[in-house]
Symmetry: C2
């Protein structure tokens, strides 16, 4: 069946999508220039109306497009509701700039209009003095809420949830429930999933708006609610929360405290952000970078350097193992200098084989496709794959060495008068390559799963870390075989 679909899409990607994206970008730029024009010609009400028509994400892009010094004044033109929506989408640099230029009243009005999770996100990026000023200008109720949210640990479900959800009682009829949602839902983050709680706020069930809509008005909520409760605790890892939302295709997941009282919900758009962020973090760790949560173009040179240099230094210094081994065989190398010509090939092949396994397993662990309890099954599979790969590499390496490196010469006369048997050298190299592949794949399996088992992050156990180990072991294998065969 695949044949029916595998019409290549590369061409399409390259013109169609790029083109569509270009069109969107161009349209937006035209739109932005038009808005600037309205400002320049003082058509403020047209401007306000046009910004309101924009999606808040695009409106935020417009502010990034404006020259820095114009931003605060232009922002103040926006109506309260639009202002809050757009503010939540802005970059923290711009938020800082705008807050600094605002009166206390203006700050207060924006803060009261934000969803608590957005307010918390904004606050956690701003410097302490600005946070202080903002907190001073919120109602004590909002302040208490914000403080509660700020107290959840980073990366916990509590830190990404929102408090604006709809709760229903089990004995309401569907008609009453819809009426309740219509009355209270306008400033909730989602009205499409409502949560049923009892008088102690304990979570009892979930009702989708769709079910309310398609049930008869007299049915009670308890009859139609789903009580096969899928929920998270406030202290659960936000990545697990996001994976649950993805697994069950939910629009939102309820979050409860230790007593199972409903305290918030995590919506699917936040789950999507969590998944993207956490994946970027994993990828950075796999590439020996200390993770950052800022986008690339917003990170300064020094900041980028600080994230990269620790692993570079550590891995450079750990190369002391390989130099020690090679130095140990310095005399043999004096005679058989040809052996060193294959260092890069052997070590890269080992490194590549190891990173294939470790990266596959790290990704499998993070998508929950692999569990730590599968350790022996995974190891057994990787072992068999490594034997297959090893045999191919052995054969290809032997042929390549004889054909390309030795140009079909079976012997070479060395400077010191001895005759070097090239077939033997090619065999030493190929056997080492075989063992390097097998060893690399096994260590690339053991390290990530082992790390997860003892509560470390598997992503750190990726390519660069494994490369150092594989390099060392490969050299030991190489010299052990060579010294036995060549008697040095």
């Amino acid at each position: 069946m695949a044949e029916l679909k595998n019409k290549k899409t590369d061409d399409i990607k390259n013109d169609k999508t790029e083109e569509a994206a270009e069109v969107h970008v161009n349209l937006m730029e035209d739109k932005f220039n038009e808005l600037v024009n309205m400002l320049d010609t003082k058509h403020y009400s047209d401007f306000i109306h046009s910004v309101e028509q924009l999606n808040p994400v695009d409106a935020a892009d417009f502010f990034e497009f404006l020259p820095m010094q114009r931003i605060p004044a232009v922002f103040k033109l926006l109506k309260k509701d639009t202002a809050a929506d757009v503010f939540a989408e802005l970059d923290s640099d711009l938020q800082k700039k705008i807050i600094t230029a605002m009166t206390d009243r203006e700050i207060s009005s924006i803060m009261e209009d934000l969803f608590v999770d957005d307010a918390v996100d904004i606050l956690s990026e701003l410097p302490a003095n600005i946070v202080h000023r903002i907190m001073k200008n919120t109602t004590s109720e909002t302040r208490a809420e914000i403080n509660r949210f700020l107290s959840y640990p980073e990366d916990s479900a509590g830190s990404v949830m929102t408090a604006e959800f709809i709760d229903l009682r089990a004995n309401m009829t569907c008609a009453q429930a819809i009426e309740h949602i219509r009355r209270t839902g306008v400033d909730k983050e989602t009205v499409y999933t409502a949560y049923v709680t009892d008088e102690s706020r304990i979570l009892k069930g979930t009702v989708s708006f769709k079910d309310l809509l398609f049930s008869s008005p007299e049915e009670t909520v308890s009859e139609i609610m789903d009580d096969g409760l899928i929920f998270a605790y406030t202290l659960d890892d936000k990545e697990t929360v996001a994976q649950t939302i993805s697994k069950y295709d939910l629009l939102a997941l309820p979050v409860v405290d230790k007593e199972k009282r409903l305290v918030g919900i995590v919506t699917v758009d936040d789950a999507l952000d969590v998944i993207k962020e956490e994946t970027t973090e994993d990828i950075e760790k796999m590439a020996a970078i200390v993770p950052t949560d800022k986008p690339y173009m917003k990170t300064g040179v020094f900041e980028t350097w600080k994230k990269r240099i620790p692993w570079l230094l550590l891995l450079m210094i750990s190369a002391v193992f390989t130099s020690t081994i090679i130095t140990h065989y310095e005399n043999a190398i004096g005679t058989y200098a040809i052996l060193t010509a294959f260092f890069p090939m052997l070590m890269d092949t080992g490194g590549n084989a190891g990173s294939q396994s470790s990266v596959t397993i790290i990704r499998g662990l993070s998508l929950d496709e692999i569990q730590t309890k599968d350790f022996f099954r995974v190891l057994w599979k990787e072992f068999r794959v490594s034997i297959l790969c090893g045999v191919c590499i052995f054969a290809a390496c032997f042929i390549k060495t004889i054909l390309v490196d030795f140009r079909l010469q079976t012997t070479t006369l060395l400077d010191n008068g001895t005759v070097q048997n090239n077939i033997v050298i090619a065999l030493i190299i190929s056997i080492t390559a075989f063992f390097a592949v097998v060893f690399a794949k096994i260590i690339g399996t053991i390290l990530p799963i082992g790390a997860k088992r003892i509560g470390l992050d598997p992503a750190v156990m990726a390519s660069p870390f494994i490369t150092t180990i594989v390099d060392t072991v490969t050299l030991i294998i190489y010299f052990t075989i060579a010294s036995h065969v060549l008697h040095f």
Copy 2:
């Protein structure tokens, strides 16, 4: 402010979440054993009722939990609606097993109940003879729809969209629109976003159910609809579609044909799957693996081998450049064997520095944080970062070589009677390390952006590919410097 939140969550991750996950797994296993028990004691109506209570995702897990030979008979117990929901969540191996055991009538009933996008997904995984049997047993209407969907290229928006959406007319009142949704919405994939089309099915706007609910019943759809249309074309890349849904926090994105006629929608849960799949593909490519769309535990040993061996072989053979360079300097190595002791360190440092840049840039490109037009800005930034990293590496490498490798001996007497100046050797090594870092970061910037520019996949330009180039260049730098300084 960050201080307020950075209470470490690692401990929590390790007990709380794992615990919660364990609890869920244990609960599910208990539940599954209970279900098996009902089957064994022939309490079929209890069994059917209990499966209906489960989330379809969990019910599908139950079938994976059953012994293979029991699956078809047990599956046939399910009611039509439940059967279709569960079937869509099953693994393709199980789907095949079940379809084979079904009568034509049963197949037909399931197919008519599935969403078209799920049916298409299922069909594209099954062997041709089974597909043929299924297609024979669908109504001609469904068959035409499925064929239309199958004709969209892989990875296009058309291939992931669903045809079950709600369309409204601009002149409907909100009350009429809600009534229309109530009447037609029950088997739509989402009722929370509706699309406004004209008589030629041209897309005119989007209305959220929330807006309908909170508007006055007499208002017309055209008054409240959002006409700042965000949509995709059927041939757009599905990854771009997913990124758009994520950017604007949408529940669904409309998909139109060339004439802007609405043909389908992509929902956020499908967007989430696309993002996860595409990221896994990128990660696999970065680790020199040919991507697969099957989960790790379902992929056989031979299949895994086939995905890994091409790059391993290619990269192994491309090492012919490094061996040629080293062979060229064989005589010099005979004298200065110590130089070879630093091959692994130099090449790994270069490789790590290069993969830091390339992986960061590939990720930035795929998240749209970096555009190809930013090329010079990115290159300038990476150049400055590379100088900073290079200087640190130079200093650390010099100190490490003198301290650890030469144990503070400034000279070494060689076998042939010449005196080797260790400070000079350490300088040669450290200068090479500096250039290796700078070169690696620059090539790690140019290759991914260049690849994207000419329409290739940037992810292929990651670590392993760059390592081969960086290895070669590093060796050339190394021997060029060494041969000038040491006169060989």
